[in-house]
Amino acid sequence: MSTYLRRASEAAASAETDQDLRLGRCRKGWRGSVSGLVAIEESGIPWNELERRLLEMGFVEGAAVEILHEGPIKHDPIAVRVDETTVAVRRADALAITVRAPGVN
C-alpha cells in the first residue's frame, strides 16, 4: 500500500463506525450499499469537488454497489457496479465512500 493510501485511510479511520466499511478496502466480489461519503485528506482535488464528482458518477447514499474487477497491479483500480452503471475508481479515492453490507442497518 502506498504512503498516500495508508495516510488517507488513517485519517479516514476515525470517522468509520462499526457497520461501515470503506469501499476502497473491499475486495473483488464484495456487495452492499453506499452509506455515506466522508472527506479524505490528500486527494488531488478539494473535498467539495471530489464529493460532487463521486455523486455525479452515482455514488450516492443508498446506491447498490458491487466490486466486479480489480486492476492488475496491487488490485488497483477497482471496477464497481453502482446500480446499473459500472465505474472505474482508484482505491485511494474509493476510501471516501463508506459502504454497508446487506442486512446491516
Partner: protein
C-alpha cells in the same frame, strides 16, 4: 432574442448527453455526410456541426457537444458543453433547443443531467437511444410516463436505423413551430451543491420507479469483462491487441501501398515521356509527383491505424485499456485517462495533445501533452518504413514474426518507455504532487456500426489528404525551389543540387550533425521535415532524385539509401526520429493548449536534446559493434 434569431436565421439544435450514449451515432444518422469538423475559436475542443432538413422542409443546424455527466464543466471539453448550452461561448448562438441523448439501458446518471438541463430553460427533447439493444436485454421503461414525469417529449430512437430518427425529426418540426411562440425562458442554471446533486438523484430514483424502469441484462458485458479485465489474461490481450495493430499496419497495407506507388510512378514516367525537358517538367516530376506521392502512399497505413482506434473506441474497449493501464500510468505519474490521448498520439500527436483535454487536472494534462509527441505518430511511419525496408532484411523470426515488424515494434516500444520515463521525471522530481482522482464509466460493450466507423475513417483520411494536398504540396514546391536554384555553373562536375541553396544549407549544418553520422542529404531533408515529419521522405526523394544522374531519376529511393548510407547512419536516423521535435504543427497545438510559449519551447529543447543524445549513442555503438 431567441425568437428573433429563429425567424431570421437557421435554427440551431445542440446534442447533449453522457459519454458513450451513442450521441455521435445519432448525429451521424441525422446529418449523414453533411458535417463539418473544426475547432471552437480560442480553445481546441473539436466542434462538430452538421445540417439536416426536417419533413416539413426546415433546415436545422445540429451541434454535437462533448459528452458530460454534469454542466459543471470539469474539463475544457465539458466547459465547452456548458458554455454552449448556457449561451456563454463567444461566436456561438444560444441553441434554440436541446436534444438530450440517453442510453436507454443506463438512465440514472443522464436523468440527473436532464434535471440539471431543465434549469437552462430551453425546449428539450429526450432521445432514448439504443432502444433496440435495451429491448433485447429485457430492459423496460414506460416511455409515456417518462415524458409526463420529465415534462418533455421522449422519443425512442435507434441511431443506426431510420425508424426512430423519423419520429425525432417530426418532433423537431413540432418544436420549431412551437418555439416561435416563445417556449424558451431565462437561463437559471447555477452550479449545484452536493446536497442538490443528492436531491436530484432522489428525484431520478423516483422517476425511474414511476416509469417501472427495469435495467437490462448486462451479463454479456460482465462475462467479457471477466476475461478482458482479468489481471493476467486482460493484460495479455491488451498487449496482443497493440501488437496486432502494428503488425497489421505493416503487412495489410502493403498491397495497397504498392498500388499507389505504382500509380504515381506511372504518372511520373508519362509526364517524363510527353513533356519536353525543362524546369516545369522537373517541378512536376521531381517536386510534386515524387514528393506528394511519397506521402500519400502512407494513407493505407494511417487508415488501418485509425480503423483500430475507432473500432476499439466504439466497442467500448478503450475505457478497459485505461482501467488496465491506470496503475502503470500512475506509476509514471500519469492519469489512467492519459492512455487514450497517448494512444491517439500513435496516429498523430495533434489529436493526442488535443484529447488530453479529457484530463481535468492541469498538471496531469500538461504532463500528458508534453510526452504525447514521444509516442510514435503515423508521420514517422514513412521514415521508419523507408529506412527499415532499406536496411532490415525481410525475414521471419522463428518463422512467425517478420523481422521488419519486430524492429518497428522496438521503435514504438522505445517511444512508449521514454514517454513514461519523461512523465515520471516531470511529475515526481519537478512537480511532486498528489494524483488526480480516476473516475471513469466502463460502458457496456457494443458492436461497432459500419456506418459510424466508415464516416470516422473518411474524416481522418480527408484530414490527412488535405494536409498532403496543401501544406505538404507547398513545402514540396519550396524544397524543389531550394534544391534547384541556383543551378550548377557550366562545366560543374558535382550533381546540381550541390550548388543549390538547400545544398549550401545542408553543408553548413552538416558539421553540427556529423557526430551522429548524418550526411548533408539527410540534413537537407531534415530542414523541411520540421514542418511535418513525413515531408523528410519526400525531401530525401527530391534531394536524391535531383543529385542522381539521368537514368536513376524516378527509381525507388530505397536502393539508393541502401547503397549510399552505412548501417550506423540508418540506425542513428531511426533513433533521431524517435525523439526529434520535428513537427511545427505539434508545437503550435501545444502552444494553443497550454496558452504559453514556455511549454512548446521546453518541449522542443528536451526532445531535441534526447534526439541528439540517442542518435549519438546509437551511431557510435553501432559503429563500434560493426568494427
Amino acid at each position: 432574442m431567441s425568437t428573433a434569431t429563429l425567424s431570421v436565421s437557421v435554427p440551431g439544435i445542440a446534442l447533449v448527453g453522457c459519454p458513450n450514449c451513442g450521441k455521435t451515432a445519432l448525429f451521424n444518422a441525422l446529418t449523414g455526410h453533411h458535417q463539418k469538423v473544426a475547432n471552437y475559436p480560442g480553445v481546441t475542443v473539436e466542434r462538430k456541426e452538421g445540417a439536416f432538413t426536417t419533413p416539413q422542409g426546415k433546415t436545422v443546424r445540429l451541434l454535437d457537444l462533448p459528452g458530460t455527466y454534469s454542466l459543471r464543466g470539469r474539463s475544457p471539453d465539458e466547459a465547452v458543453t456548458r458554455d454552449v448550452v448556457l449561451g456563454r461561448l463567444d461566436g456561438e448562438a444560444l441553441p434554440d433547443a436541446l436534444i438530450c441523448v440517453a442510453d436507454a439501458t443506463n438512465l440514472r446518471l443522464v436523468l440527473r443531467l436532464i434535471l440539471e438541463l431543465k434549469a437552462v430553460n430551453r425546449p428539450l427533447i429526450l432521445a432514448l437511444n439504443m432502444i433496440d439493444i435495451a429491448k433485447r436485454q429485457g430492459c423496460e421503461i414506460d416511455v409515456e410516463r417518462l415524458s409526463i414525469e420529465l415534462g418533455m417529449p421522449v422519443i425512442p430512437t435507434v441511431a443506426v436505423r431510420k425508424g426512430g430518427v423519423t419520429s425525432l425529426l417530426a418532433e423537431i418540426d413540432r418544436l420549431a413551430t412551437a418555439a416561435g411562440t416563445g417556449a424558451a425562458g431565462e437561463v437559471t442554471w447555477r452550479e449545484p451543491t452536493s446536497q442538490e446533486i443528492r436531491d436530484a438523484h432522489k428525484e431520478a430514483e423516483r422517476i425511474l420507479k414511476a416509469c417501472a424502469f427495469r435495467p437490462g441484462d448486462q451479463r454479456l458485458t460482465a462475462r467479457l469483462d471477466n476475461v478482458l479485465l482479468h489481471p493476467v489474461w486482460g493484460v495479455l490481450i491488451l498487449l496482443g491487441v497493440l501488437f496486432l495493430m502494428f503488425q497489421a499496419v505493416f503487412t495489410w497495407a502493403a498491397p495497397v501501398m504498392d498500388g499507389i506507388k505504382a500509380a504515381f510512378d506511372l504518372l511520373g514516367t508519362q509526364i517524363q515521356a510527353t513533356m519536353p525537358d525543362g524546369l516545369l517538367r522537373s517541378l512536376l516530376t521531381d517536386g510534386l509527383i515524387a514528393g506528394v506521392g511519397s506521402v500519400v502512399v502512407f494513407l493505407p497505413q494511417i487508415m488501418i491505424l485509425f480503423l483500430f482506434i475507432i473500432l476499439l473506441e466504439d466497442f467500448g474497449y478503450m475505457a478497459r485499456a485505461a482501467f488496465l493501464m491506470d496503475r502503470l500510468m500512475g506509476g509514471a505519474g500519469l492519469h489512467g485517462r492519459a492512455f487514450i490521448p497517448l494512444l491517439s498520439s500513435f496516429a498523430c500527436a495533434i489529436p493526442g495533445v488535443m484529447a488530453a483535454r479529457v484530463i481535468e487536472n492541469r498538471r496531469d494534462r500538461l504532463a500528458t501533452i508534453l510526452v504525447a509527441p514521444l509516442m510514435t505518430c503515423s508521420a514517422r511511419i514513412p521514415v521508419y518504413t523507408l529506412i527499415i525496408s532499406a536496411f532490415v532484411p525481410a525475414e521471419d523470426v522463428a518463422g512467425v514474426v517478420s523481422l521488419q515488424g519486430l524492429v518497428m515494434f522496438g521503435l514504438y516500444a522505445t517511444g512508449i518507455v521514454s514517454a513514461l520515463l519523461v512523465a515520471w521525471i516531470m511529475k515526481r522530481l519537478v512537480w511532486r504532487q498528489v494524483a488526480e482522482p480516476f473516475l471513469m464509466e466502463l460502458p457496456a460493450y457494443k458492436w461497432p456500426r459500419l456506418k459510424n466507423v466508415a464516416l470516422g475513417l473518411w474524416q481522418r483520411a480527408a484530414v490527412f489528404l488535405r494536409r498532403a494536398g496543401t501544406i505538404i504540396l507547398a513545402i514540396m514546391v519550396v524544397i524543389w525551389f531550394l534544391s534547384t536554384f541556383p543551378g550548377a555553373p557550366a562545366g560543374a562536375l558535382d550533381p546540381a543540387i550541390n550548388y543549390s541553396i538547400a545544398g549550401m544549407l545542408g553543408h553548413w549544418l552538416q558539421p553540427l550533425l556529423a557526430p551522429i553520422g548524418f550526411n548533408w542529404q539527410i540534413v537537407v531533408a531534415l530542414i523541411p521535415g520540421m514542418a511535418a515529419r513525413e515531408v523528410a521522405v519526400g525531401a530525401l526523394g527530391t534531394v536524391y532524385a535531383l543529385s542522381a544522374t539521368g537514368e536513376e531519376v524516378g527509381s525507388a529511393l530505397q536502393p539508393i539509401l541502401a547503397a549510399q548510407w552505412t548501417l550506423p547512419t540508418a540506425l542513428s536516423l531511426l533513433a533521431w526520429y524517435i525523439f526529434a521535435p520535428q513537427c511545427a504543427s505539434t508545437l503550435a497545438v501545444v502552444k494553443r493548449e497550454t496558452n504559453s510559449w514556455r511549454w512548446p519551447a521546453f518541449l522542443f529543447v528536451y526532445m531535441l536534446t534526447l534526439a541528439y543524445g540517442a542518435a549519438f549513442v546509437t551511431y557510435h555503438v553501432a559503429t563500434w559493434m560493426l568494427g
